[in-house]
């Protein structure tokens, strides 16, 4: 088979065409007889997918199956919990924490969208929602850091507590950045990895800054 081994194709070949999906294809609900059963299965399937992704964030290894099955439930839950925990932490919080809550939301989602656009414009192969999914899920370590910081702050707000919080936030920030770059940087050509990693670094840095400078009133 030596001849076949020489027949390698270099370069990109563009293939165009149309795919027709036959409309009479069996739709997914024909097997189900009751309404409740399929819905429960759909819910369980989605919940399991979300749980699997949380586990993957804590032990990041590159896995293409994880990326293919994206969802935004995890990022939503993490964003809401982080925003709830970050409430009332600024100097002039006489109101009920409304603007800060919306601010955290906007920062996280807008930041993730900007990073995704950046990586798309740099020629990345990952899709828009996949990238949002990964960035959102990798906020998990920082949410854990926020939880730890709030617990530490219950004990006191002195120098020791600050040092502990600093170390925890630094560790989780590094974890978040490494986890997300493990998934995202591979979709870029090698000479552009730094250009992609830097905004991610900045994004998690801003979130870590918000967490570290949180002091409850």
């Amino acid at each position: 088979f030596a001849d076949l081994a020489d027949m390698s194709l270099s370069g990109d070949i563009t293939v165009e065409g149309e795919i027709t999906v036959p409309v009479g294809a069996p739709s997914p609900d024909e097997d189900f007889s009751t309404l409740d059963e399929p819905v429960r299965e759909t819910i369980m399937r989605d919940l399991k997918a979300v749980g699997k992704k949380f586990v993957h964030v804590m032990y990041p290894k590159k896995s293409s199956t994880l990326l293919r099955d994206w969802d935004l439930w995890g990022p939503l839950v993490l964003c809401v919990s982080l925003a709830l925990m970050l409430q009332g932490g600024s100097a002039d919080s006489k109101e009920d924490g409304g603007p800060q809550f919306a601010e955290v939301f906007v920062i996280i989602w807008f930041g993730a969208v900007v990073i995704t656009l950046n990586s798309k414009l740099l020629g990345g192969t990952i899709s828009f929602f996949q990238s949002l999914c990964v960035l959102g899920y990798c906020v998990l370590p920082l949410t854990v850091a926020m939880l730890v910081c709030r617990l530490v702050l219950l004990a006191g707000a002195g120098t020791i507590s600050f040092v502990v919080r600093l170390l925890v936030v630094l560790a989780m920030f590094a974890w978040s950045t490494l986890a997300s770059t493990a998934f995202l940087a591979d979709s870029q050509p090698p000479n552009r990895k730094a250009l992609v990693v830097y905004p991610i670094f900045l994004f998690y840095f801003v979130i870590s800054w918000m967490i570290l400078t949180f002091t409850p009133q």
């Binding site: 149309e18 795919i19 027709t20 999906v21 409309v23 009479g24 294809a25 739709s27 997914p28 609900d29 309404l35 399929p38 819905v39 759909t42 989605d46 293409s64 990326l67 293919r68 099955d69 994206w70 439930w73 939503l76 809401v80 709830l84 409430q87 009920d96 924490g97 409304g98 603007p99 809550f101 919306a102 939301f105 906007v106 798309k120 192969t125 990952i126 899709s127 828009f128 929602f129 996949q130 979709s187």
Partner: protein, 156 residues
């Protein structure tokens, strides 16, 4: 044929709108209202996309990513040879609910913008995008018909 699906189709969207309009009656806390409405909008998006469209009108749209990382938007339509009277009504309710709610959220967008209650803006924008996404997806399914209805979008 699917009264529960019809109910839930309208329930989440309707409750989100009602909660937004009357949030001051329910609770003083902005955060509680924000989170409640956001959760209602998310549940509505998920149930309309995955359940009610499939059951009420036989349409489905989704995003599929194949092995080399390319993302495809797939729009499927079930061939309906006979349309029973009850499913006509359900289809009408489905489309009415699908169309009216994004319009209402757009009205909220302008009212929020001009009354300068900007802290609600993020929520209204989220509502508009979620509901418009479903509307766009289903219209695409409906118009796809018998022709090639699967296309590759290279950007998204």
């Amino acid at each position: 044929r699917h009264p529960l699906a019809t109910f839930f189709h309208l329930f989440f969207r309707g409750s989100a709108i009602v909660t937004y309009l009357f949030c001051d009656w329910f609770s003083n806390s902005f955060v509680a209202c924000f989170v409640t409405i956001l959760l209602l909008l998310s549940f509505d998006f998920w149930s309309v996309k995955n359940v009610t469209g499939r059951l009420l009108v036989g349409l489905r749209w989704r995003n599929q990513i194949d092995e080399d990382g390319k993302s495809h938007w797939v729009f499927e339509a079930k061939e309906v040879s006979t349309v029973a009277a009850s499913s006509e009504v359900e289809a009408q309710i489905f489309w009415l609910g699908l169309i009216i709610c994004p319009v209402i959220w757009t009205v909220f967008f302008f009212s929020t913008l001009f009354s300068l209650k900007l802290k609600w803006l993020a929520l209204v924008i989220a509502g508009i995008s979620l509901q418009t996404a479903n509307l766009y997806g289903y219209i695409h399914c409906k118009l796809g018909g018998q022709k090639s209805i699967s296309r590759t979008t290279s950007f998204v």
